[in-house]
């Protein structure tokens, strides 16, 4: 175990995943405090540039959480996200950024436990990868 505390930006949609995160709190589930949530109305609102900006400003990881497929409040916004994120991951890899630093997943409003599991997993994964800046430099020089 290293002591590195990663900073992770989490984009949550207003209808499912933000409520799932709220539920984790209401149910007093404990999870790592490393994910800081930004609320958007739909995961479909998450522009790839938001994610790049987060990395630029010092995020070690970015988590995008939406409604489960078929459950999107806006019918199909999450399907658009599901197409955008893999493309962005490909681009991140080309830029020398580990694709694991970006994760897309689905959490419903009733899945507080799932939210906690994803946050904890993500935190451990990023902790293992180490800080973003250092890594990217290595990637550049390596």
């Amino acid at each position: 175990m290293n002591n590195f505390e990663p900073k992770i930006v989490g984009f949550c949609c207003n209808w499912c995943s933000y409520r799932g995160a709220d539920l984790a709190g209401t149910a007093r589930m404990k999870c790592s405090p490393n994910v800081r949530i930004i609320r958007v109305m739909c995961s479909g609102r998450v522009e790839p540039t938001f994610i790049l900006k987060a990395f630029e400003l010092g995020a070690d990881g970015v988590l995008v959480l939406g409604c489960h497929p078929g459950d999107c409040h806006y019918v199909e916004g999450n399907y658009k996200t599901a197409r955008r994120i893999p493309l962005l991951k490909k681009m991140l890899t080309q830029m020398g950024i580990e694709e694991d630093r970006l994760r897309l997943d689905w959490v419903s409003a009733s899945e507080g436990d799932r939210f906690v599991a994803i946050v904890d997993e993500m935190t451990e994964k990023i902790r293992a990868l180490g800080p973003f800046k250092k890594n990217s430099k290595e990637a550049k020089h390596g």
């Binding site: 930006v9 405090p33 800081r36 900006k53 400003l57 409040h73 019918v75 916004g77």
Partner: protein, 653 residues
Amino acid sequence: MEKPKIGVYVCHCGSNIAGTVDVKQVVEFAKTLDSVVVAREYKFMCSDPGQNMIKEDIKNLGLNRVVVASCSPLLHEPTFRHAVQEAGLNPYLFEMANIREHCSWTTEDHDKATEKAKALVSAAVTRVRYHQPLETKYVPVNPATLIVGGGIAGIQAALEIADAGHKVYLVEKDPSIGGHMIQFDKTFPTLDCSACILTPKMTSAGSHPNIELMTYSEVEDVSGFIGNFKVKVRKKARFVDEERCNGCGVCMEKCPWKAPSEFDLGLGERKAIYTPFPQAVPNIPVIDKEHCVYFLRGRCRACEKFCERGAIDFEQQDKIVEIEVGNIIITTGYDPFDPTPIVKYGYGRYPNVYTALEFERLCNAAGPTGGKIVLRDGSEPKSVAIIHCVGSRDENYHRYCSRVCCMYALKYSHLIKEKTSADVYQMYIDMRCFGKGYEEFYERLSKEGVKFIRGKVAEVTDRTLTNEEKGKLIVCGEDTLLGQVIRVPVDMVILCIALEPRSNAKQVAQLFRISQGADGFFIERHPKLDPVATMTDGIFIAGCCQGPKDIPDTVAQASAAATRVLSLISKGKVELEATIAVIDEEKCSGCRICNLLCPYNAIEFIEDKEVSRINEALCKGCGTCVAACPSAAISHKHFTTEEIMAEIEGVLV
């Protein structure tokens, strides 16, 4: 833009926040942030003194932006928006930092919780600088309502709304309203006669001055939004003039051609011109083109000859009727599960294996056997097995419990015992008798000599092993209470089939822009606190289209949906989303990528200007188009790129 003057208020929430987060440190930190004029803490910010603190500061210090760090915005954002509005600020010049649900409640380590709270406050402060005042718009609500599906749910909702004095269009695909309930014989646990309690409601719905019945009709297209829907309904050709027909029934009497009756599930016959059952509402027959000899061979027209009112019209065409309504209630019900695929139960192979719905018709005095419970050869059964959970609680078909089968199975036991001297076997997995009076009904039946065997039936077969079994159907399985393999020879088998979503539920969901769950039933807005609304404003659901349920629950939901509609009608106007997307036509390149992305068809392409434009009333504000616009020409009000970028910057302090 005026220079931002921000007030930050950090809530203790008793010890909910202050027990984990060092509130003082957060306040001191907030004071160091750019544009923050004042930062305070208070025990309960949502209380009156807490809100007054904000209002006073707005007045005395001239604040033009406010941040409250407390619970989830889903809980108290409306509270604080209202408070800042009362002090004269636009409610959108407010931002909330969720330091309770997302921080103090989920974090054990106090230092880390405090660090996180600071980051969340910083994000809110950085973001709120860019907030713009937004204007709330209202549109009037059309007081007419469309109800889709004329079963008990639709009838109940229609009567509630019509009795309150408002117009209802009740659309039903079949020639009569009544739904599945009118096919039933008795209803559990009271054993009320289904038709006796339903026909008065059907008649009221049929003759109500505020209800326009549109039977033998289907909804083809829905556009618009809450308060202002436009709906196209196809009225299928009945070949009978509804205005002229007086329902005398002579045409049905004189028609020489017969067809299997859908209402009796093929167990009985009807004429080629028919009403599904004698108490049909409206009492106007339809001609079934598939079986009418005039349509098939060009000769007959017996009905026309005998109709004194000249109501038969072989030239009638389908008609598209356009209606405008403010709200829609969907009560499309369920389909009974077809047990044919479960080959081991022999449905379709052994004539004396019936589905539950077929048995309802057998029992019914108006049914094909005049209410006699008999086998296909007309003899009375000496033994009957009722198999539970056919297609329900079965991972090969439906995982869910259909909720009504245990109870109607008990009802059948009673009816069989009442009408015959047969032995009755209940082959069940678990008895689920949860409703009011249900457990008592189960107890009563236990005393009526019904044999309960616990275990899932493996097979129904006619392969006999002993003389005693000869000519019988053998129900094989395991009695899990005795731990024994059993063979029960019976004359009749009734399959308690699952209730499943309508085969066209997906098309209905797409037509009305509502969602289906994994099981195919329509999803309510909140499973506990908003059970009849859908995620689409102005569209409500009730009855079995939302999930399997019994008649009392269906009626309760239908009344609830009607109440929701009535409250919108009496309010008279609805608020439009203020946080919608807008296109800057100067920047728009006319690429039309956004046009295809919008799930609400809210974006139209203006041909002569070659730009796209968003219809404010249709946009729901998801922002999907904003994220996709290659020219960054679309902006999402209250979730602008600037605002979110600022939040990202703030959260990463």
